[in-house]
Structures are given as structure tokens and as C-alpha cells.
């Protein structure tokens, strides 16, 4: 691999990793939202049961 090829690969890889990191962050936020929804559903069920 020549020096030019290495730098070109690095530039494209940085963008790929950047987008991948964003996907990972969004995935963790999504799982947090899922937990929140579950918690609220449980709260609503308990309220409905006591009411």
C-alpha cells in the first residue's frame, strides 16, 4: 500500500467510523427510550389497577 493509498483509506475510514459512532449513540438512546416506555407502561398499569 502506497502512502497516498493509506491516507485516502484513512480519510474514508474516519467518515465511516464517525457515522458508525453516531449509530451506536442513537442505538443507546433508543434502548434508554425503550426502558422509559416500559417504566411508564408499568406505572400506568399500576395506576389503572389501584384506580
Amino acid at each position: 500500500m502506497t502512502t497516498g493509498e493509506k491516507y485516502v483509506a484513512a480519510a474514508y475510514l474516519v467518515v465511516f467510523v464517525g457515522v458508525l459512532a453516531w449509530v451506536a449513540i442513537i442505538a443507546s438512546k433508543l434502548s434508554r427510550l425503550e426502558r422509559d416506555v416500559e417504566e411508564l407502561a408499568e406505572l400506568a398499569r399500576r395506576k389503572a389497577g389501584s384506580g
Binding site: 491516507y7 484513512a10 480519510a11
Partner: protein, 229 residues
């Protein structure tokens, strides 16, 4: 045909971004010729410049939404402005990193303070990075939305300054590809560039929509929690 970005289904937008990015990669590496002057390293141009232009577009979109918030008090305009600026900062960071890599292989340095284009872009990036510090240092509410909108509008002035800086200051280090005579490249290179830019704009649009959906869902859940407790 959907009239607005929000009318396009999110999966359609995501698949369009993936298809355009794949086409762009094929065009860049198998169709566009290798530059006679810079050699293979010129291929970084097809990712670096579209990312920078996408970053400008995101900041511009964020400022437009901020203006809408101040003018018409549109519901959700503040959140839309925030999401667009967030995407702009992500693409801005990628612009700086890919630019540094290109500078290293072309000029032998990672960064040079003598290039006006680089410095003005860094100022623009830092200005919008500070937007988040401002946003999270003020209590949520109308006052925060107004302050953030005014800040976002001030920043948009830096976009034409950054874009025009190399033309106004005769910067010989940073190359000027787009002149008043049109793009200084062959037709095949320009096609690869346009497809790459379309792909990155669609990707930014997808990321913007996903982030906005997440933020809106978060807000609704908070309201629901307040109602239930």
C-alpha cells in the same frame, strides 16, 4: 412527489442515502480518473468537500429554523434548529479531520494557520460547538429558545465569510476548485462529486430526522411521566 423533507418516509430517505453513498464510492474509485497533479490523494476531495458543504447546509438550515422560531414562533422550530446545528457540528468535525488528512498528504502538515479557509472554518465550527454550551447552561423554556435562535442566526454570517475567504484573500495554499468559470475539473470528476454530495446531504437529512424523532419522543415521554406521577 413529497413537497417537504418531513413528508418523505424515513426508511426511504435512509435507503436513498445508502444507495447514493454506494454509487458515489463506485464512481470515485472506478469511474473518476486519477488526478495528474495530486495523484490518488485527490480522491479525498470527493469526501472532504461534500462533507464541508453539507456542514454549511446544516448550519444554514439550523439558522433558517431559528429565524422561523423568532419570526413565526413555529412549534418545534427551536428543536429543529438544535438538531440541524448538531448535524452541522458532526459534519464540521469530519470536515476538519478529513481536511487534516488531506493536508498531511498534500502539504506535509496536519494544519496550517496561514490558510484563511481553514481558520474561518475552524472559527465557524467552534462558534457552533459553543451553541451547545449556551443551550445547556440555560433553563429549558421560551427564553432559552430565543437566546439559542439569536445565537444560531449570528453564526450563519460566518458561512459566506468561510466560503469566500480564499477568494477574497488570495489564499494560494488551499486550492480553489469552484471559480466564476465553473468547476475546475473534468465531467466525470464533477459527476462523482455531485453524487457524493447528494449522498451526504441525504445522509445528513436522515440523521436529522432520526435525531428529531428521538428528541420529540423524549419530550412526549417526559410529559407522560409528569401526568402519571
Amino acid at each position: 412527489m413529497p413537497a417537504r423533507l418531513r413528508d418523505i418516509q424515513l426508511p426511504v430517505l435512509a435507503w436513498s442515502a445508502a444507495a447514493l453513498m454506494a454509487t458515489a464510492l463506485a464512481l470515485v474509485f472506478f469511474y473518476a480518473p486519477i488526478d495528474g497533479d495530486q495523484g490518488l490523494s485527490q480522491k479525498i476531495f470527493y469526501i472532504h468537500v461534500p462533507i464541508a458543504l453539507t456542514s454549511y447546509a446544516c448550519f444554514g438550515w439550523g439558522a433558517a429554523k431559528a429565524f422561523l422560531h423568532l419570526w413565526k414562533r413555529g412549534p418545534g422550530a427551536d428543536l429543529e434548529s438544535y438538531a440541524a446545528i448538531h448535524q452541522g457540528v458532526i459534519f464540521g468535525a469530519l470536515t476538519l479531520v478529513t481536511g487534516s488528512i488531506w493536508a498531511r498528504v498534500s502539504w506535509g502538515v496536519w494544519w496550517t494557520w496561514s490558510s484563511n479557509q481553514l481558520v474561518t472554518f475552524l472559527i465557524l465550527f467552534l462558534f457552533y460547538s459553543a451553541y451547545f454550551m449556551l443551550r445547556y447552561s440555560v433553563e429549558p423554556g421560551p427564553a432559552r429558545a430565543n437566546i439559542c435562535a439569536v445565537y444560531a442566526l449570528f453564526g450563519v454570517v460566518l458561512i459566506p465569510v468561510s466560503w469566500l475567504s480564499i477568494r477574497l484573500a488570495n489564499d494560494f495554499i488551499h486550492p480553489t476548485v469552484f471559480t466564476s468559470n465553473g468547476p475546475q475539473m473534468s465531467g466525470s470528476m464533477f459527476l462523482a462529486f455531485c453524487v457524493a454530495w447528494a449522498g451526504l446531504l441525504t445522509l445528513a437529512g436522515t440523521m436529522y430526522r432520526v435525531e428529531l424523532a428521538g428528541k420529540r419522543l423524549d419530550e412526549r415521554l417526559r410529559e407522560l411521566r409528569e401526568l402519571l406521577t
